[in-house]
């Protein structure tokens, strides 16, 4: 068996490998001082890291009383945000609308385009899509269906 990689050694240390794998690793460890040394180092590292992180634990923390009021203020806040956003949207649209109205078009209609102009004599007039597309100078277009 070739030398054991770091991942497998880690799994071995944490008891996270299959019985077969475990046996194979142990066999190799008994024959290879390099891997054995590596295992020893990694074990020490794991213990040290766990211990170091656990040293950050605080005991006897004063548990703050659960703030039921916070639940209400949170929903109020969301409502407030929704209202302000809607208001902002309305103002925005009014602004665009007013802005467009103030600028008169030099040429009100620039393109007149027919969409469909093939008549079918067997169909009634209303059943067919006769349409005209009108585009103004700002690129705004409207399709008018003929009935």
């Amino acid at each position: 068996m070739k030398c054991i990689d770091q991942q497998q050694l880690q799994q071995y240390i944490d008891g996270e490998c299959t019985a077969n794998k475990k046996a194979a690793i142990e066999k190799h460890l008994s024959e290879c001082t390099r891997c054995y040394k590596k295992l020893y180092e990694m074990k020490a590292l794991a213990v040290n890291a766990q211990h170091a992180i656990a040293s950050l634990n605080r005991n006897n923390i004063e548990v703050p009383t659960f703030n039921y009021a916070k639940l209400k203020t949170k929903t109020k806040k969301i409502k407030y945000i929704i209202y302000s956003l809607s208001a902002a949207c309305i103002i925005f649209f009014i602004f665009i609308f007013v802005d467009k109205k103030q600028e008169p078009c030099a040429e009100p209609v620039s393109i007149v385009q027919t969409l469909t102009w093939e008549a079918d004599a067997n169909q009634t007039f209303a059943n067919q899509d006769f349409a005209i597309q009108i585009t103004d100078c700002r690129g705004k277009s409207k399709v008018i269906y003929l009935e």
Binding site: Q10, V47, A52, L56, R58, V63, K70
Partner: protein, 161 residues
């Protein structure tokens, strides 16, 4: 005391400690823990069935911590967080603890989460579920993370065994 308050009192310290270790910031940790319990309270109100409140809280708190860390790393505020944590006197922390926080802050969000969960004595399966890291990648990521953390601790002359 109702069921919720009972769970709150019994689990506050545990959840706070996990979040506090992941965020390395006691103030933000308090906020995340409050949000976590608010989520539990709201789930109870909606009659969501929660059989194991402790692991439910754990999972939600870890999730919120992951989001927090990702935002932090996006904003590239890691140095700033470090300064706040070490200057703040919310809790008195000693030099050794400061070193550990500093070393932890050198890890990427995923690595940090994994390191903390590992220190909680979780199995690979549990760590995968909590962190969202693939089960098959846990061994590899963990060994890399521990090596990185060990190097940082050594650099800072942390007292090792």
């Amino acid at each position: 005391m109702n069921r919720f308050e009972n769970i709150y009192t019994k689990n506050y310290q545990l959840i706070f400690n996990v979040v506090q270790k992941m965020t390395c910031n006691a103030d933000d940790a308090s906020d995340i823990v409050q949000e976590t319990f608010i989520a539990l309270y709201q789930s109870f109100q909606k009659n969501v069935r929660i059989d194991y409140p402790r692991s439910w809280l754990y999972k939600v708190a870890v999730n919120k911590s992951i989001n927090y860390l990702k935002q932090q790393s996006k904003a590239d505020n890691i140095e700033l967080v470090n300064n706040i944590t070490t200057e703040e006197n919310y809790f008195e922390i000693n030099e050794q603890q400061k070193i550990v926080q500093y070393a932890l802050n050198k890890l990427k969000p995923d690595e940090k989460i994994l390191a903390v969960l590992y220190s909680e004595g979780m199995s690979y399966k549990e760590m995968a579920e909590m962190s969202g890291i693939k089960f098959t990648s846990i061994g590899k990521t963990l060994s890399r993370t521990l090596a990185k953390l060990g190097d940082e601790l050594k650099k800072l002359n942390y007292e090792m065994y």
